[in-house]
């Protein structure tokens, strides 16, 4: 344990601030390939059909399925609305997406209308569309895999910790400002599937981990050893959510370096996710 910490501290000491050069400004990612404008009534109809047919898997905000975030306006397997309608009706073989062929094309079109109207929050409750500085993605990638130590925890299409979110597709799912905020202030807003929980048993033994499930009487987590564990609340002295275990990079990386990492994360699009 000690040696790992020493190693990390050494690496942090060696972290070199790279002077910024070519910066550009960007707003929201190029966005939403919407071909039609939809009437509010269609969107409302679609909301109802979404709630009846889609919400069970995709969640209230369209972001409950990893790798298939519906709230981004970008779809790996569909570029047009007609593609989307076909995909919803036929399902995607060999994936969890079943066919929905009991709905008419017109009904499915209203679901697409609803999806197109979802705020592109990438699963965050709020949409952060502030314009921010976007740096150099190559330098960002070097920082990500090197001195900033991001890759110690975060995998991209696998490779990180199971406790930490895999960042494949993050560039399609989140706005630049929201990515920047997560780097500078990781606890500001944490997606539902990434929240941490802490329990203390009656002897004071503490366990922390990623929250997987909870109810009035029990809680299920992946603990720090990446094992699946369950606790009865009656056998705990305390339990509750904890903040993000990710450190803030506010005083670690320069603003230019943060912009580089954001630029790199924006290259991790759904198209490149496996």
């Amino acid at each position: 344990m000690r040696s790992v910490l020493n190693l990390i501290q050494q690496q942090l000491r060696a972290l070199i601030i790279i002077a910024g050069s070519a910066f550009m400004f960007m707003g929201l990612p190029a966005g939403i390939a919407q071909e039609h404008s939809y009437a509010p009534a269609d969107i409302e109809t679609g909301r109802g059909l979404y709630q009846a047919n889609c919400l069970g898997c995709h969640g209230d905000n369209g972001d409950a399925v990893d790798g298939a975030n519906l709230s981004t306006g970008r779809f790996r397997r569909a570029s047009s609305d007609e593609d989307l309608i076909r995909l919803i009706r036929t399902g995607i073989p060999n994936t969890p997406m079943p066919p929905h062929n009991t709905m008419s094309v017109g009904q499915v079109r209203t679901i697409v209308a609803f999806l197109r109207a979802l705020p592109a929050g990438g699963g965050m409750a709020s949409v952060d569309d502030r314009e921010i500085l976007i740096g150099n993605p190559e330098r960002g990638e070097a920082l990500f895999n090197g001195n900033a130590l991001c890759s110690v925890c975060h995998g991209i299409n696998g490779g990180g910790l199971l406790l930490s979110p895999d960042l494949a597709g993050i560039g399609s799912q989140r706005s630049p400002a929201s990515l920047e905020l997560s780097i500078l202030e990781p606890g500001a807003e944490v997606r539902a599937g990434n929240r941490f929980y802490e329990v203390s048993d009656l002897n004071g033994k503490i366990s922390v981990g990623k929250l997987l499930n909870q109810d009035t009487h029990s809680v299920q987590m992946m603990n720090e050893d990446e094992k699946l564990v369950s606790f009865l609340k009656s056998e705990l002295s305390s339990y509750g959510f904890m903040g993000s275990p990710m450190p803030s990079y506010l005083d670690v990386l320069s603003p230019e370096e943060v912009s580089d990492v954001v630029a790199y994360l924006l290259t991790l699009t759904e198209e490149n996710a496996q």
């Binding site: 601030i17 060999n94 066919p99 997987l212 050893d225 450190p247």
Partner: protein
């Protein structure tokens, strides 16, 4: 310049990184070899490689079993409509339960509360076609990886901790009827499966994949092709019948590590009910095959029903027992076959040692010295009355062997019959390739809410047989037939269930009814047992629920 604070939370994550980097294999090959040494877990479909479906846990006894109380129910949800038969036996691995919600959703559950850790949802290709329900019998585990066969012919490797997909291979094309319904078997670095599809004119095989990569390591064709041993048993002059010869695999095999042989029961030849286009014995259909686990090479085979025209496929669980056979210690295999006969076979050589009916049988009247049945009835154009019926005297339902009582327990369909009629049949890719469906007084699959049948139209039983004599020791009779497996425990409690939804405990020594519950949906799965914090639990899938029982604290 750099001022990063190592917070306690970050410390925890970094520690986890270290643990992760040095993670030991959770379920090593050695643990699977010694699965009977950790009765708190249930590490494979039949409990251990001998496939006894016997738990050495003994907290629940004939004296206290009547106090069993329901701990929790997990209800499966089907996105495609009502759940079809829930046939999976769950695994319990170091405090986590894994099962498959039909058709192909893997669920990780807390075995104490039934609460969900994660779900891996898989939508099989719409091209999937299965004769007898969109079912799955459970997962296998190696290290931190679960393996699930899907009804569209895919085999999936899933991370047991996160529920993330690791790899996915196509074992056989769904459009031609290849489907996986069995729980895979893991031996060493191999995960072994075979495709169902005996009603679609598949050509079957048993195939081993590398657990890490999904790369195919060996394949044994259950219907040999030109140049392969056994091909001579396909005697049609055109030499075409083997291409659609069946030989499906849909129940899990067993394994003897000393002999390094893995044993698998092979399904019916195709087409099912008219064998005119496939003269010959049609090896290795309706056989047990013993394969070298490293190479897939055939060591021996025994064919229960040569040139089968009654759909008596040998898809039962091979039960491996070491016993003193007529004064000699022998490694044998006990096998109650769908064709109505109970067999004892030497599992070193494949030698036939004993064969006796365990229900009414009229299609054969004895064996020759090599164990070949003397068949006296077969389907005809006018129709032939044959016992047992097409669904068989037993089927995929797991039997149990108790080393404590020395008895072999068979879920049995008693006094059933079919009228088999021969009809022309032609192969069309992806369509059923069967012939005329035999008539049956007993519904093969469908469960009706009411039962008004006469006893002579068939009934169910759990039968206890003495492997030494092949004689019945006791029989527990049920008004309806059963698709339930049998679990026995070291404390002489036997658990099984019925189509009408009852789940019950019998005394394994004499068949006395000790306890019963109505679960409100048919028991079509094998029960299992596990232990957490010193308490023994019994789990069974029934209807659309997984039910878990234990004694009051």
């Amino acid at each position: 310049m750099i001022r990063m604070t190592i917070t306690p939370k970050l410390f925890i994550l970094l520690s986890a990184a270290l643990v992760w980097a040095n993670a030991n294999a959770q379920i090593s090959p050695e643990r699977l070899l010694n699965a009977d040494q950790e009765p708190q877990n249930w590490l494979m479909y039949s409990g251990d490689y001998d496939s006894h479906r016997h738990s050495t846990l003994d907290q629940i006894t004939p004296e206290n079993v009547s106090e069993l109380k329901l701990e929790w129910i997990y209800q499966v949800r089907s996105r495609a409509g009502a759940a079809e038969k829930f046939e999976a036996t769950p695994l319990v691995v170091d405090g986590v339960m894994y099962t498959v919600s039909p058709p192909n959703d893997v669920v990780a559950l807390d075995p104490l509360t039934g609460r969900v850790f994660w779900t891996y949802s898989y939508s099989p290709s719409p091209e999937a076609r299965v004769c007898c329900g969109r079912v799955n019998r459970g997962v296998a585990i190696h290290d931190n990886t679960l393996f699930m066969g899907a009804i569209d012919g895919h085999l999936l490797a899933i991370d047991a901790r996160s529920g993330a997909l690791k790899w996915d291979v196509e074992v056989g094309p769904a459009s031609l009827g290849y489907a996986l319904t069995l729980a895979p078997l893991v031996i060493g670095n191999k995960v072994i499966v075979g495709p169902a599809g005996g009603e679609y004119g598949i050509r079957g095989y048993i195939v081993a994949y590398d657990v890490e990569t999904g790369e195919q390591l060996w394949r044994f064709n259950t219907v040999p092709g030109p140049g392969e041993a056994g091909f001579e048993s396909w005697e049609d002059p055109e030499q075409e019948a083997w291409r659609t010869g069946g030989g499906s695999i849909w129940t899990t095999g067993s394994y003897d590590p000393e002999l390094n042989l893995t044993y698998w029961g092979v399904g019916n030849p195709g087409p099912d009910w008219n064998g005119d286009s496939r003269p010959g014995d049609n090896l290795y259909t309706d056989s047990v095959v013993a394969l070298n686990a490293d190479t897939g090479e055939l060591a021996w085979h025994y064919q229960f029903t040569p040139h089968d025209e009654m759909d008596y496929d040998a898809t039962q669980i091979p039960v491996l027992v070491d016993l003193n056979w007529q004064g000699q210690d022998r490694k044998v295999m006990l096998w109650a076959n769908r064709n109505g006969l109970f067999y004892v076979i030497d599992r070193v050589t494949g030698e036939f040692l004993l064969g006796k009916p365990f229900v009414e049988v009229n299609w054969m009247d004895g064996f020759d010295a090599a164990g070949r049945p003397n068949q006296v009835l077969a389907p005809t154009e006018e129709g032939t009355f044959i016992m047992p019926n097409n669904q068989g005297a037993t089927n995929w339902y797991s039997p149990s062997y108790s080393p404590v009582t020395g008895l072999f327990y068979i879920p049995s369909w008693m006094d059933t019959y079919s009228v088999y009629t021969k009809r022309e049949v032609e192969y069309e890719p992806g369509r059923q390739f069967v012939g005329a469906f035999p008539t049956m007084a007993m519904p093969a699959l469908g469960v009706r809410p009411t039962n008004v049948r006469l006893p002579e139209e068939g009934y169910g039983a759990i039968q206890a047989f003495d492997p030494q004599s092949g004689e019945m020791v006791w029989r527990f009779e049920m008004t309806n037939v059963t698709d339930s497996g049998v679990l026995t425990t070291a404390s002489n409690v036997l658990f099984a269930g019925g189509r009408e939804g009852s789940f019950y405990a019998l005394d394994a020594r004499d068949g006395t009814m000790l306890w019963r519950q109505s679960l409100g949906g048919q028991v079509a799965s094998g029960p299992m047992s596990y232990e957490i914090d010193g308490r023994q639990y019994i789990a069974v899938s029934a209807g659309a629920g997984l039910f878990v029982y234990s004694l009051p604290q």
